[in-house]
Symmetry: C2
Subunit: 789 residues, 2 copies
């Protein structure tokens, strides 16, 4: 222990404990009371809510951490925010937020008075009221904690590029068992003490989850210490249950941690050497449901899992009622609040003021700090396309150059994220201006192509969870980012996507929250190009998940080529409050549109490609549509085959970039009106739709359309193994030959004349397969096919 | 180091190194050669594959671990299997599998001779050939390793209840960064040394991922040692690159680990005290791409990330070609194989024999060991239902009793899994016969309701990833299990579900793999009963993911009540090779069917509930359909309202348990024929479908049906916050009043007479909301509604 830190005086301890009692009373009040908030009259049944909802267990520990950070904010004028890993303990956060006045500023009907407190209590976990987790409505929260596991990665995301910020993050010991949390401790190898702020984790060992002890609370002190030292932290322990002792100890330890953070930062910043320090972290071992009833019905309550939610459930029995009354009275609130329900001035003085309050810190309402990116002109990265479908290029490489120059122009508020795959995903031009962040050890060979640097702004760790968590924290605190990942493994973060989409959707209804940058997710290394990995790497189903979430926040783009990808990325990086999902493969693909045409096409989101149509001025016999790079190539090849073999057939070709165009305009803001939809797809002609993903998604989006019954959709249907790309297409019937056969089958006029063409197509498929099985590669004439009409 | 272990003699080292050279040659040969497998003639371009696919980097390390385990299997007659965390290094596994003769037994066209070796090389990563990961086609594999992160949890799953088994698991250092892997090290707190086998992890620090160093290879030795001690292991280090030294060291260390495992087991088994030992694990630090080319094009290759896949890419240049030739020659295979391509007898002698070979161990083809469960009669757990829709019960509680008695009757090959939620999910009767497995520390208060025991068979850890991994490993090694989890957070394991479904689908095509028990997943604490958690806990979208996977392996059930849940669970627990997803809430719900009716209904999977219909003997005016507990209750209430207000309206009521019944029979084996479907849903009458999940899933399944255009589906549409259950239903329009309004809107005959009923329904909704907002609970008359017609 640092001997230079003076212990708290008895009076200071009394004050801080009084403040904490107020927090704990508020937490209990929120769970139980709908009236009589100051207990001015004897407690009656009618003061108690009909439904008792909320989580008491972790609340006292959360407010304990919160107010001890408050003390240091005041003492050292710190710039700090607070994250509650176990967000279900919201009463432990809402209490201090209310006490420091922020809640009342934002929600004037919950003022710092009796009426306000009554309303505050009543609305908690009440229909139409205050959520039971640290929802977007919670001032100071950028981490709801509804799903556990992301607190540490969110905290790091907020700390990056905020050199003065300290992110205090309480980590639940239940949460610490989750997979995402367990690896996120390694985030300390990606934090630069010169450029970034600090994260101060407080592992809250309150011993229990819902019904079980937690692992980390039931291993030896030595193991626990080893574990955190092994993770690269310096653990400090605060353990006990006596409030006064614990306040003294926590005050000392937390102050030492803050001073250690300052020392590390000063040393790094003065020396200019960004070595990896062993940052401090705190292990707070305190009873679950601390200060709650010790026993209920003769069963252990405080310090046991039973106190996880509502310690005294049925309050209609006299004993239970008496126990509740005794418990609430134990906080002696007449010593804490004046008769109007306002916290006494000497306690009020303990909290920070203005935007130094963690509930009012701008970093926790990052949209207020957000500055738009300085964007280079995406046109400058275009590939030349003289004639559609005649040249090939790697679709993602020019995007890498675009991202490089965006990075160059925004070296303080933009980062690029990817799980060890930015090179694999052909975005490596970005390293020309910013390398990969790396604070772990270096070896001599790193000079030969490692692209590592403590100053790097490209975040690579083989944990999609951690990357997504960092990115969310970075965005919610007002910055910008871009995340690329393998298509099949974006499912690793399905649940994080769900939660972030819900956060954004709810935030839109919170008037004081400013819009934050969209989360931009490039899904690449797609299903159709997994030759060397096979079946496990084939899953285009993330989109099926995306469409379940609010249309207010979800966007899906399938740019068919380089220039469209550039245009889409340009749009997405300028947008706010969305999750933009972009699907585009990294390999060499046929190019279709020059830059101006691409911008026009992407702005519309869907359109007829005239050069591929021969239905000019008339209704087509058939509509060929596509979404995605490979499906577009195959669909165009099918059009060429059809026009060769059936020159009189009128074919319209439609490409879809913005997938939600297919949805009715009543269901998604991007949806086409029925009239526009019909004018593209007709009301009655057969539509052959070649899709990147699972085929039924198109049906799901378009099933309310007039012509839906004539939609015939091809896509991936779980037919894969070690194949060549063409063979994979054939097995899933998205190849040109299958499409021609499909159309012949669906057009009565072609039944007779088409019979031998069908046979020809089938033979061609066999030829392709035989060639692949003999040579291990695709038939060159098919593989290298280009548009020649 | 244990001084009793004699070092290997020079001759032993020579032999083991020769065997390893053979492995490494085979790995290189698989990646490069399509002919001239024994290099009997000078290498020519035409001997080399056109596409070079595969991962060389981790292969030598994998085979190094494999053959050192072989040595100990032979020496101590061990019963062991092998898992390759980085399954993309399959060449490092396939090599030893081929050398010990197992590959040729299973695939006779890949015999132990020149032709067989040629075929083995050629087909690797070749169209229609051998997968590039440790796919189900790989003898001895129950862990594909296509997606990283699950090796350790799979290993523990296989070790549970197999006291003699040692599961050797190589963990990639890239893999070790993933979230699931990071927390799975804690599995050692759930392994009982008396009853369970052992897991011997070998963390393979080969330093690099695709393009980056790995975190664990770039922290200090001290940190690394602390980390694993903190995780509760005793780490042993084998570090270096000189093969001879490394063989000596690995042999010593691995033998010491095996002896330590034996010592721990003997001590625990003789004393009967199942304390938690600090199991040994090995850190193997060896160069990536070990024994491969040191440099290519003047750039570091061996021991660097560049050797991750194919070390020498373009072999058409003379230098590259020469380098490849030099590399392949370096293994001196004429010293290893006879002229016919068979491994020399003195090397052959190093491998275990028969089923002691890890490639032939029955535990890695668990279906062969699987014994059907002894099943009590599910009828014995039925709740009495005299009249449909008149009593309530907690849907999951009788299931808990059923599971308890299944457990009782199968105490060696059945386990129940849940993330700290079996009590919360009302399955706690199970603890009467088996408590929760717990090998971490105990406290006195555990006696008061902890339900913990080292002998427990209920697996609870707050990591869905680890549970799913354990369960998969347990099932694939021939046992049975049941996993229940919160609906919203089943998305945490989306990607694991995807991978397991792919494994099962591919396994069905592998004739020598015996069927394994189905993975039974109960999704509970559902969207409609999340009053105290709110929006973050509402997501019924897992089913949308399930339907993307092969219909051969996926099943979905939505039992509407207790007895249906029992019948469904009974069926699922007897089945093999499926993933059975069961959706049923844990709270009190209305009961509809007595046990016999339930069995009949569930066996059919879909059916008309006559007692709720008044269309007997005629075509209905409208069909009301439902799937799921709450939607069924609301749909029935709507039927009652309709019959009250429109007595002449002919209504048919259909309940769906087996969701795939809606799919065409051509697309899923459970699908109804069109004729049967039409006879239920009619060809032209309006169908009102009240669904548990997102509504569009019903459209997706039924869009090819004749009457699909008349389907009107209600379900969850992301409208949630802190609501009462009824208010949540109203917001999402699955409530009875909305359904009545929907039907009035869709039946022209009701337009006039229905106008005032619509108004009445709307007023009722307002009344419900007002009541909820005033009292915090639902209007009792609606909440406690029962069927009275």
């Amino acid at each position: 222990m640092n001997s230079k830190i003076p212990p708290l005086s008895a009076s200071e301890i009394n004050h801080i404990n009084a403040y904490w009692r107020a927090c704990n009373y508020l937490a209990a009040g929120m769970i139980y009371l709908r009236d009589n908030p100051l207990l001015k009259e004897p407690l009656k049944l009618e003061h108690i809510k009909n439904r008792l909802l909320g989580h008491w267990g972790s609340s006292p520990g959360l407010s304990f951490g919160y107010i001890h950070m408050n003390r240091l904010i005041v003492k050292y004028d710190l710039n700090a925010i607070f994250m509650a890993g176990p967000g279900h303990g919201a009463p432990g956060v809402l209490g201090p937020v209310y006490l420091e006045g922020r809640y009342s500023e934002v929600y004037p009907n919950k003022g710092e008075n009796i009426d306000g407190m009554r309303q505050f209590f009543k609305e908690f976990s009440f229909p139409g009221g205050i959520g039971s987790h640290c929802t977007p409505e919670t001032p100071g929260s950028i981490h709801e904690g509804g799903e556990l596991g992301y607190s540490v990665s969110h905290a790091f995301g907020a700390a990056f590029d905020n050199p003065d910020l300290i992110v205090t993050v309480m980590v639940g010991d239940g949460e610490s068992e989750t997979a995402p949390l367990a690896t996120s401790w390694h985030s300390n190898k990606f934090l630069n003490p010169i450029r970034d702020g600090a994260v101060l984790p407080i592992l809250h060992l309150n011993g229990y989850k819902i019904n079980n002890p937690t692992i980390l609370s039931r291993i030896s002190h030595e193991e626990l210490e080893n574990l955190f030292k092994g993770y690269g932290w310096t653990p400090y322990f605060v353990e006990g249950s006596d409030p006064e002792t614990m306040h003294q100890r926590m005050a000392q330890v937390m102050e030492e941690c803050v001073l250690e953070i300052r020392r590390i930062q000063t040393e790094a910043r003065e020396s200019g050497i960004p070595a990896r320090p062993r940052w401090p972290m705190i292990v707070l071992r305190s009873p679950k449901g601390w200060t709650g009833p010790a026993e209920v019905d003769g069963k252990k309550m405080e310090g046991f899992w039973r106190s996880h939610q509502v310690p005294i459930g049925d309050v209609k029995t006299p004993e239970h009622f008496a126990k509740l009354e005794e418990w609430l009275s134990s906080y002696k609130i007449d010593e804490l609040f004046d008769e109007n329900g306002k916290l006494l001035p000497e306690l009020k003085a303990l909290a920070p003021k203005g935007i130094r309050r963690m509930s009012a810190n701008l970093h926790a309402n990052g949209g207020l700090l957000r500055r738009a990116l300085h964007m280079p002109n995406c046109r400058d990265y275009a590939v030349e396309v003289k004639n559609p479908g005649t040249t090939v290029a790697e679709n993602t490489r020019p995007l890498g150059k675009f991202l490089r120059d965006i990075m160059q122009a925004n070296m303080q508020n933009f980062r690029v994220f990817g799980p060890d795959e930015n090179s694999s995903n052909k975005l490596d031009n970005i390293y020309e201006v910013s390398k990969k962040t790396w604070l772990a050890d270096y070896l001599p060979e790193d000079a030969g192509g490692g692209e590592l640097s403590p100053d790097g702004r490209v975040m690579e760790m083989l944990s999609e969870h951690t990357l997504e968590g960092w990115l969310e924290g970075y965005l919610l605190s007002g910055r910008h980012g871009f995340f690329s990942t393998y298509e099949a493994f974006v499912h690793v973060i399905d649940s994080m996507f769900n939660q972030h989409a819900k956060w954004l959707a709810m935030s839109k209804d919170v008037p004081w929250r400013a819009p934050v940058s969209s989360l931009n997710l490039l899904i690449t290394s797609t299903v159709w190009r997994q030759d060397h990995n096979g079946f496990t790497h084939q899953d285009p189903g993330f989109l099926d998940l995306v469409v379940n979430k609010s249309p207010e926040v979800t966007r899906i783009y399938l740019p068919p080529d380089v220039n469209c990808l550039l245009s889409v990325a340009d749009h997405c990086l300028k947008s706010t409050d969305y999750i933009n999902v972009i699907v585009c493969d990294k390999q060499k693909h046929l190019q279709f549109l020059n830059m101006e045409a691409a911008i026009l096409h992407c702005t519309k989101g869907i359109g007829i490609w005239d050069w591929a149509c021969n239905d000019q001025g008339s209704e087509p016999d058939v509509v060929m549509a596509s979404a995605g790079d490979i499906p577009t190539k195959e669909a165009l090849a099918a059009v060429m085959l059809l026009r060769e073999h059936f020159p009189d057939l009128k074919i319209r070709f439609i490409n879809v970039v913005d997938l939600y165009k297919l949805t009715p305009s009543t269901e998604h803001p991007h949806g086409l009106s029925d009239r526009d939809f019909d004018s593209l797809f007709t009301k009655d002609r057969p539509v052959m739709f070649n899709f990147h993903g699972y085929p039924w998604l198109i049906h799901r989006l378009a099933y309310r359309r007039h012509n839906h019954q004539n939609f015939h959709v091809r896509g991936y249907k779980e037919k894969g193994s070690i194949n060549t790309p063409l063979e994979l297409a054939i097995q899933n019937q998205i190849d040109r030959f299958s499409l021609v056969i499909d159309i012949i089958d669906r057009l009565p006029a072609l039944q007779v004349s088409g019979a031998h063409i069908k046979e020809k197509m089938l033979n061609k498929q066999i030829e392709c397969r035989n060639y692949a099985y003999a040579h291990g590669i695709d038939l060159p004439e098919v593989d290298n096919w280009t548009w020649t009409l």
